[in-house]
């Protein structure tokens, strides 16, 4: 593996090394610190990222170039996931170099794949509950970028973007940030609501699950809870729409709790879970 890491900084050997290392990345638990601490490897990976910027607009990213950069992103994801390198990765602000990818709108496969893999890096960061990560992300424009993907992405991209927003909301700092102004709350609320509408046409249980978790978490904030009494999509109270959750007790319980929190007790009871009262709202910081 050392030889492959060294090859990342040798122009002629780089492409093969990217492919081989991204394939085998999970069998080397120390790969992340090797990538970070060896000479020039992170610099070489960043070169891979910025080298495809010119193909973003007008959209001209080929499958080949997309593959190659996604292999580099997979290695960055490895660095983002590892407890010994995560902080260093944030300290160097490397996630910001992926934001231009999330800003693209082309629906072609190379672009979908690029966005999905980039979201995967951010997803790896939020997967561990770490306020440092949330603070970092909130200091950047990740929320509007996630909202954009949630509006326009493929089902899988939407799911990962919603997962990222969910993890930001689950942190108190993130919840307070999003509920700090009406504008922010309604920006998130409007996108969640339009996704629910979209699910009526194209159902996806896994996406619905994350949307419900986001709403439930928003309802922990007193002002957001008030607002949700008015703007929670009616579909979430429609037994036909939520019938797809019949085998998913956790999500059904989240939904019932959400409905209780915003005052729809009958519909909550109809979900057949054992929720009795609203969860106490969080004190605002």
């Amino acid at each position: 593996m050392e030889a492959l890491v060294l090859d990342l900084t040798v122009t002629a050997a780089k492409e093969t090394a990217l492919l081989e290392l991204s394939k085998k990345r999970e069998s080397f638990p120390e790969l992340a610190p090797y990538l970070w601490h060896s000479f020039g490897t992170m610099a070489a990976l960043l070169q891979e990222i910025v080298s495809i910027y010119p193909m973003l607009q007008p959209p001209s990213l080929t499958a080949h170039a997309s593959n190659r950069v996604c292999n580099a992103l997979a290695l960055l994801q490895c660095v983002a996931s590892h407890p010994e390198t995560r902080s260093l990765f944030l300290q160097a602000h490397i996630p910001l170099f992926l934001y231009p990818f999330l800003n693209t709108i082309s629906k072609t496969r190379p672009f979908e794949y690029l966005r999905l893999t980039s979201l995967g890096v951010i997803g790896a960061l939020v997967k561990v509950d770490d306020t440092e990560v949330i603070n970092f992300l909130l200091s950047t424009e990740i929320i509007p970028l996630c909202l954009r993907t949630m509006e326009t992405g493929s089902e899988l991209s939407k799911t990962v973007a919603t997962f990222i927003v969910q993890k930001i909301l689950l942190d108190n700092v993130g919840l307070n940030y999003i509920c700090a102004t009406a504008e922010r709350f309604f920006a998130v609320g409007a996108v969640l609501s339009s996704m629910v509408t979209g699910l009526a046409e194209q159902p996806s249980v896994r996406l619905l699950k994350h949307i419900i978790r986001c709403y439930l978490r928003l309802s922990d904030n007193p002002r957001a809870r008030e607002a949700l009494r008015q703007c929670l999509p009616d579909l979430l109270r429609n037994p036909q729409f939520t019938a797809c959750l019949k085998d998913d007790i956790t999500t059904r319980r989240w939904l019932a709790q959400l409905l209780v929190n915003v005052g729809h007790l009958q519909e909550a009871a109809a979900l057949g879970t054992d929720v009795v009262g609203p969860t106490p709202p969080l004190q605002q910081a």
């Binding site: 050392e2 890491v5 040798v10 492919l19 394939k23 990345r25 999970e26 090797y34 970070w36 601490h37 060896s38 000479f39 020039g40 992170m42 610099a43 960043l46 070169q47 910025v50 080298s51 910027y53 010119p54 193909m55 001209s60 499958a63 080949h64 170039a65 593959n67 996604c70 292999n71 997979a74 994801q77 490895c78 996931s81 010994e84 160097a92 602000h93 490397i94 910001l96 170099f97 231009p100 794949y113 979201l119 997803g123 790896a124 997967k127 561990v128 424009e141 509007p144 909202l147 954009r148 509006e151 799911t159 990962v160 969910q166 922010r184 920006a187 409007a190 996108v191 896994r206 994350h210």
Partner: protein
Amino acid sequence: PSKSDAAAAAAAADGKPAPPAPGPMIDPNIIANLHNYITINPQLAIVGERLQLKRLVPMAVDRAIVEIISPVVDRSVTIACMTTQELVLKDHAMEPEGEALRKSAHLMVTGLAQSLALVTAKEPLRIAVANNLRALLTNQLDANMLEQVVAMLVADNLDLCCQVIEKAAGERAQREIDERLGGAYAARARAKAAGQQFVDGALMQGRFPGALPEALRPRPGQLTAQQQRVYEDFAHIPRTAAAAQQSAGQPRPPGSTGQPEGSEGGSIGPPGSRQQPGSGDAEQAAVAVAGGGGGLAPP
């Protein structure tokens, strides 16, 4: 405007703290001599005379650049400097020559700041140049003709605008990285004056880099030619799609790449992944995309 635009505006309004940096310093000669660099297609010669394009196009280009340059250069330079500072200090922890550190830092910060500035500014510039041209030329042409003339002028002059902004970003990034690394340059000079071997102790304290295998472990002393080349590559980052295509290399034969080109159901998976995210649980998909290794923490 879409909802995420509102969110973007909200984030921009109070999100990132603006760095306390001076405004972008553009080479005064480029802006002052814009008219020398402007391209006006010969097809427009006749109409161009009547419309005073030689006077109006530099005006539109100048206004567009002024509208766009400041936030783009600020943001690109700040990000490029933060990244460069962390990575060059790490890679040069045992490099005794301040000048070698400075050279690497300049190469990297310039490449990164220019790339970020270009990718951020290109579309806003295209729109701003077009809008300014329309504002200056409206009433002088019928709508259809106006759009044709504007499109032609934008296509011919967009790259000039981009170059101005890239140049400003690169120049300011170099000044700013020197400020940030002033202490690191001085520490190397002090060690040299005292006849000591320089090592950045703060970067050598953890388990790594000491725990790296021999082949990857940093060695005391100056960078090798191969190591210098990694940083020199920052001077050759492609800035056009064609150059980017070339730098990505030739496609390999089918089946040898990571992209699941022929995977069932057209689902998209992470590179090198054996397991495609299927119709299963959302968390599985997120985990698969987020790189596996442990489940999600229960909410």
